[in-house]
């Protein structure tokens, strides 16, 4: 059996009296896009901050390629190829594209005291890497603050891919973007997957999640409502679970009472009703 590249088992995280995560399990394999869904405050960001080494879990185990890990900082996660593009802190606006791209992993030449940041080569690589993703940066010196939101996200993704990410974690990369720019970002996600990278994508937008996602994990108030493959979950079901999932608990009871087949029919019926309410 394949081992997941990243796996968490029964992870819990507390912030004082707030239970941000309560016994969450999830696994992730290369070349797949896992969408992490759930309402505001469900614990999505907390979960990926644990995966990326920002927080340590209070309970539960975290395995990378089958081995248990204890990260002390994001650097530890990066060293194992787990790269994160954050919702709020993707880039430093006043720094140039090149300096941002290589921040924390600067290319150097020379040794000892003469070891220095190879700015020329860095600029060439930035231009090449962004070119591969179809972004034309006019001037690698320009401050990131002058880029559009989509360009900024794309630069961050290109950076993670360039630095050999095996796992790419994206926290709401498309939330602030228009239709076209969101499309560009999702295209890079697909490209990353095609290169064998495992992607975790957080989004509130079902129209972004469903086309790109291979599997969907749904969180609610710190607990997981389960992980579903695309085959198991219709777009409508997914939308319903994202928008709350209260109904799901009722549904689960009924699942137990009825057979699987019957329940599936029921769920769809349930759903049509709800969608027609929306319409």
């Amino acid at each position: 059996m394949k081992t997941p590249i990243v796996e968490v088992r029964n992870i819990s995280k507390y912030f004082g009296s707030v239970i941000a995560l309560n016994g969450v399990s999830m696994d992730l394999y290369p070349s797949e896009v896992m969408c992490l869904l759930g309402d505001n405050g469900a614990g999505k960001s907390t979960l990926i901050k644990i995966l990326s080494g920002v927080h340590r879990p209070d309970e539960g185990v975290y395995l990378v390629e089958g081995k248990e890990v204890h990260f002390n900082s994001p650097r530890d996660a990066l060293d194992l190829g787990i790269a994160t593009v954050y919702q709020d802190l993707a880039m430093i606006p006043l720094m140039s594209v090149t300096r941002n791209f290589f921040l924390g992993s600067e290319l150097t030449v020379g040794r000892g005291l003469l070891r220095r940041f190879d700015v020329k080569r860095a600029q060439r690589i930035v231009r090449e890497e962004l070119g591969k993703m179809g972004i034309d940066i006019r001037d690698p010196h320009q401050p990131v603050g002058t880029l559009s939101g989509g360009e900024r996200q794309s630069v961050a993704i290109a950076r993670a891919v360039y630095f050999g990410a095996k796992v790419l974690i994206l926290d709401e990369p498309t939330s602030a973007l228009g239709v076209k720019q969101a499309g560009t970002v999702l295209r890079y996600v697909a490209q990353a997957r095609a290169r064998g990278i495992a992607v975790i994508l957080i989004t509130h937008n079902p129209h972004h999640a469903y086309p790109i996602g291979d599997r969907f994990t749904i969180l609610k108030r710190g607990r997981t409502l389960g992980t579903y493959t695309k085959a198991e979950l219709s777009r409508e079901e997914m939308i319903r679970m994202m928008s709350g999932g209260e109904e799901l608990e009722k549904l689960e009871e009924e699942l137990r009472a009825f057979g699987d087949q019957a329940a599936r029919g029921l769920a769809n019926a349930f759903h049509e009703e709800e969608l027609s309410e929306w319409a």
């Binding site: 994001p74 990066l78 802190l89 606006p93 006043l94 720094m95 924390g104 992993s105 401050p143």
Partner: protein, 326 residues
């Protein structure tokens, strides 16, 4: 830089006739600018990294006193005293930095505290040991002559403008100032730690998330400003032959002003060491130039304050254009 040129032109017009343009006048303001510039370059790195150090003026007083007391009172070789003074300064800088990163309090508050603690300790200890607040006689201690070469020698050039054939004396502090500025510029623009400094000042969380050792860098930067204060203290003690517990007062503010005039943002993440060089030059020219103009030098502080406010306004305008061009 354009600011420095503007000030130079203004002073040249107003006070050129009265010696501002002469070699001796130039050496005079360069000396003031150099001692301020050594501080300003280190402070620029710290401020680009998003922090302040208000304690450097007090460190100048304390570090100078360590040298004078150890060498004069206890008969140490001056080099040993200078070495111990450096170590003490670095420890103080490291403590400043550690307190800032551990408590997460604004460095403005932490170093405002150490400003008073260090000054108070310097005065109390000096009085306790020597019974005075000034210690002279450094010129007679062991090793003084060799120390002069490094910290207080001058390059003498005959001043053609002088009718009595006087020399213009350019102190070695100018060399230190330019050397440190060169090293700082190299670090900022061409090394990994330089990139980290911009990063931690621009956004410490983002920098940490991409693996920059934010806390370690900040502690280093506080050690660098403390070391710059030590160098200025050493230069002053060696060239004057004495130490005074009150030396260095207000230098922390002059340094910040020089850095801001040099284009570094008060909010961190943007700036340059070269800018700090020109900022210090501007302040030095104004401070000394005002004497040449014949205007009462009391007006210096007024001009300094006005320059600071104008500089901040200009910087903010430039930053807006840089960060929000779209």
């Amino acid at each position: 830089m354009s600011g420095a040129i503007l000030v130079w032109v203004l002073l040249a017009i107003v006070a050129g006739e009265r010696g501002f343009l002469s070699l001796r006048g130039t050496a005079n303001y360069l000396q003031v600018a150099a001692e301020l510039g050594i501080l300003a370059v280190a402070v620029a790195l710290l401020m680009i990294g998003g922090e302040f150090d208000l304690s450097i003026g007090s460190i100048i007083g304390g570090a100078g006193m360590v040298i004078a007391v150890l060498s004069v009172q206890y008969g140490w070789n001056i080099w040993a005293a200078i070495g111990v003074s450096l170590i003490v300064s670095l420890v103080v800088g490291a403590l400043n930095g550690l307190l800032v990163v551990r408590t997460k309090l604004p460095s403005f508050i932490i170093t405002l505290g150490s400003l008073f603690i260090i000054r108070g300790l310097t005065i109390a200890e000096t009085r306790g040991i020597t019974g005075r607040t000034q210690v002279g006689g450094v010129k007679h201690v062991l090793g003084y002559d060799s120390a002069v070469k490094f910290f207080a020698s001058t390059l003498k050039i005959p001043d053609p403008a002088s009718s009595r054939g006087l020399d213009a004396a350019f102190p070695i502090s100018i060399f230190w100032w330019l050397l440190i500025a060169g090293v700082a510029t190299y670090i900022l623009l061409r090394t990994r730690p330089g990139n980290w400094i911009f990063g931690i000042g621009g956004d410490p969380h983002a920098a940490r998330n991409v693996g920059v050792p934010v806390d370690r860098m900040k502690v280093f930067l506080f050690m660098a400003t403390a070391a710059s204060a030590w160098l200025v203290a050493t230069i002053q003690v060696i060239s004057s032959g004495s130490a005074d517990t009150l030396r260095g007062q207000y230098r922390e503010f002059y340094a910040i002003i020089a850095v801001v005039i040099g284009g570094t943002l008060l909010t961190g993440g943007y700036g340059s060491a070269i800018g700090a060089v020109f900022g210090a030059l501007t302040v030095g020219m104004v401070q000394q130039g005002i004497i040449f103009t014949g205007v009462d030098s009391d007006w210096f502080q007024v001009i300094l304050g006005v320059m600071l406010i104008i500089a901040v306004l200009v910087n903010n305008f430039i930053r807006k254009r840089a960060a929000e061009a779209k």
